[in-house]
Amino acid sequence: MTRLTLDHLNVGYGGADIVKDISLSVGSGEIVAIIGPNGAGKSTLLKGLAGVARVTSGGLEVDGTDLVPLSPFERAIQGVAFMPQDRNVFRTLTVTENLETSAWGHDDIRARMDEVIALLPTLSGYLNKAAGGLSGGQRQMAALGMTLMSRPTILLVDEPTAGLSPNLVGEMLDVLANLTRHAGIGVLIVEQNARAALTRADRAVVLVDGRLRRVGPAAELAGEPDFGALFFGDHA
């Protein structure tokens, strides 16, 4: 089932559009990876969907609801959960408080917490620590837990593995892939580690200079012989 639909979407911060003419859809239980070189506008695209950057034209819907006029807060209520790349936890609050606060307006906070901890069991190891004192991996896990507290239908994840050690990168992406399948969430993920992302994603889009260069099944894209050279230079 298609949950999130982008129709010729343009996004910017007030000046010239940074992301141009994006059409895409994400279904439930599906992971779509956004890959592309630095500065291609990947993060801006996610921010546009979350309401942090401005959609200048085009359509954006989730389950048939028009998101364009909605504020970040209202989009969150509509089930779109955005996990920013940095400053994504409340540093002065404990992990438990971070999770509780992320389910504002709901009466079943306890149940949601249990649910999130069941999905991300490592959280239980540091629930009472202040989020500002967590390691990089713990922090990203806590931030992911926070997004899940609202029981989102669409999860927008901006570089969840940035700054993590290589073994944690795979772990984090596995966790994301698993919970997508279990909870039926549609995930749009921006990821620098393109290869690692493509092995977990269902589909991938390649963004270059703010425009969609390629869209296709992840495995197919990963299999292209000139893939690395085309989009990632040396480090792919």
């Binding site: 979350a50 942090v52 504020s71 970040p72 807060f73 969150a76 209520i77 955005f82 920013p84 400053r87 994504n88 936890v89 409340f90 540093r91 002065t92 609050l93 408080e97 971070n98 509780e100 606060t101 992320s102 389910a103 504002w104 307006g105 926070m146 997004t147 609202s150």
Partner: protein, 284 residues
Amino acid sequence: MQLILNAIASAAVLAPAAIGFTLIFTLFRYTNFAAGALMTAGAFAAWQMNDLGLPIWLGGICAVAFASGLLMLSDRVVFEPLRGRSGGTLLLVSIALSVIIDNVIRFAYGTQIRAFDLPLRPPLTYAGLRFTPETLSVIGISVVATLAVGALLAFTRLGRALRAVADNPSLSSIRGLPVPRIEAAGILLAGALFGLSGTLAGLDLAIEPNLSWALTIPVIAAAIVGGLGSPLGAALGAVIIGLAEELTVAFISAPYKGAVGFVVIALVLLLRPQGLLGRAVERK
């Protein structure tokens, strides 16, 4: 010992306002110099109600409500349209606001010094300490209020949300927190604390329009000593300022009590710019 009791009494007057100031600072990142004016407004509201025949505790409740409403109104009319402007601009505006509030009070009540209508009771003595029943109530009310606000912030949903918004407003709205509503709750709470401090100041000192600046500096000093982050720090900062004030009165000269706040701020800035408690404050 007497000195410590006096210090605690001074601290009791300052603590709620210092917490309110810290709350506003952490939510909006500006220094609100109208703190003293709001306290004075609270003191006059309480006095007015008392003068109309209401008992002092009811007058105090009116003062809390009045100052709360006044800060809310100030925010809507003055500060909200300026959100996003520099901290310096907001600071300047808060001084202008303070001048307005002070002079409205002066306009309405003149420069006469007033006091609550309290039954004259002899000072109590206990273990060699002399204190009035009013001192005891001031300390009691302040301690209860401080603990109540501390508990609110630590254990309730609203308290967590207030800390979350203070920590990171944009993440708050992304996570589905109704930020404007939570900010409004913070403003009402801070205003109430100013009103409470004002009433306590009225019990402890005299009520006059010139009170405002004499209150603003020690309140801000207490908040800075407390690290401008945690309400508990602000309360502790108030105790330190109170102690410094009483030491000044005892060993230097009573009139210079008013300079203590400035000197303490200067010392803190020299020795520990992040405040005695708490981490360095991020500044814009």
